[in-house]
């Protein structure tokens, strides 16, 4: 083998590795499901407050959050069986797992212990979500994913400064634009790739 052939061979290896690394290792279903769950929870609270219909909103989350976790565990299991496993995929799953536990603790324990003013849960969670998106985007080297973080962080600033009833609507909209819609985009990409593979 001469120098040129060796160079071609190395280029070929590099190309195959890069192409494989770009493969979808997640399906976006978690983003969509959690996005819808939180939107539902936020809107129930928002419209209840607008109609002066008061009840302990804590119970909405007692129902919705375990539902989200059950779905994530199920999705994680089926994803593991259907998608190629990668180191990056495992890191991302760990990051979101840790963020999810952190957010659940803050939301439930923080509220129950009165350590956190419920009005500030949304901006705190927005900071967490922004961090998750930023890390994910950097790991998978997809700029638009890390750019979503800036949407979350900007939203967090707004929510910190303007707490109130409308912050529930703002959070629901953020969940739609920075969580559910990106999830749909990822899911469509995943579906397209699955069709090519099968």
């Amino acid at each position: 083998m001469d120098e040129k052939a060796a160079m071609d061979e190395l280029q070929f290896i590099k190309k195959v590795i890069e192409d494989s690394k770009k493969s979808m290792t997640y399906n976006g279903m978690d983003y969509i499901f959690w996005g819808i769950l939180v939107i539902v929870g936020m809107l129930i609270q928002y419209f209840s407050l607008l109609d002066h219909f008061y009840f302990n909103f804590f119970w909405i989350w007692v129902v919705l959050i375990p539902l989200g976790w059950a779905f994530s565990i199920y999705n994680g299991k089926s994803k593991k069986e259907k998608l190629p496993r990668t180191f990056a995929g495992r890191i991302i799953a760990s990051v979101w797992g840790a963020i999810g536990v952190g957010m659940t603790l803050l939301g439930f324990i923080g509220t129950m212990s009165h350590g956190i003013n419920p009005m500030f849960i949304s901006p705190i969670l927005s900071v967490f979500l922004g961090t998750g998106y930023y890390i994910t985007g950097k790991i998978i080297e997809v700029k638009w994913t890390s750019n979503i973080a800036f949407g979350w962080w900007t939203g967090a600033i707004v929510l910190f400064f303007y707490p109130g009833i409308h912050s529930l609507l703002i959070m629901a909209l953020m969940m739609l634009f920075f969580q559910t819609i990106p999830g749909i985009i990822i899911y469509r990409k995943y579906k397209k790739e699955q069709e090519t593979i099968s």
Partner: protein, 98 residues
């Protein structure tokens, strides 16, 4: 083949399809047949032949599983395969540097 002879290239890896299979498997922890087929861009039969060769050399490990009641064959690079790939790339680099 002498492992320290950098003039020599591993015959098992030195084939475009087998090299592609290994390059795909080095970038993922494990992958199933159809994923490999799409990435390597070859036919079922051709892929099977090359996979068997890699399997016989113990460069890859094979695991059979059922997903949604459908049989799936999952492949991963073995430690021996990883080592062989490292040596192969190293030899290519040496050839260029010569």
């Amino acid at each position: 083949m002498n492992e320290f002879d950098y003039q020599q290239l591993d015959d098992i890896i030195h084939s475009r399809i087998r090299l592609a299979i290994i390059a795909v498997l080095i970038s993922v922890d494990e992958a199933e047949f159809n994923f490999l087929k799409e990435k390597v861009n070859t036919t079922d039969g051709n892929l099977s032949v090359h996979i068997r060769k890699l399997e016989e050399a113990k460069y890859i490990t094979v695991k059979k599983d059922f997903v949604d009641r459908k049989p799936k064959t999952i492949y991963a690079l073995s430690n021996k395969g990883k080592k062989a790939f490292e040596i192969y790339v190293e030899r290519l680099e040496r050839l260029i540097k010569k």
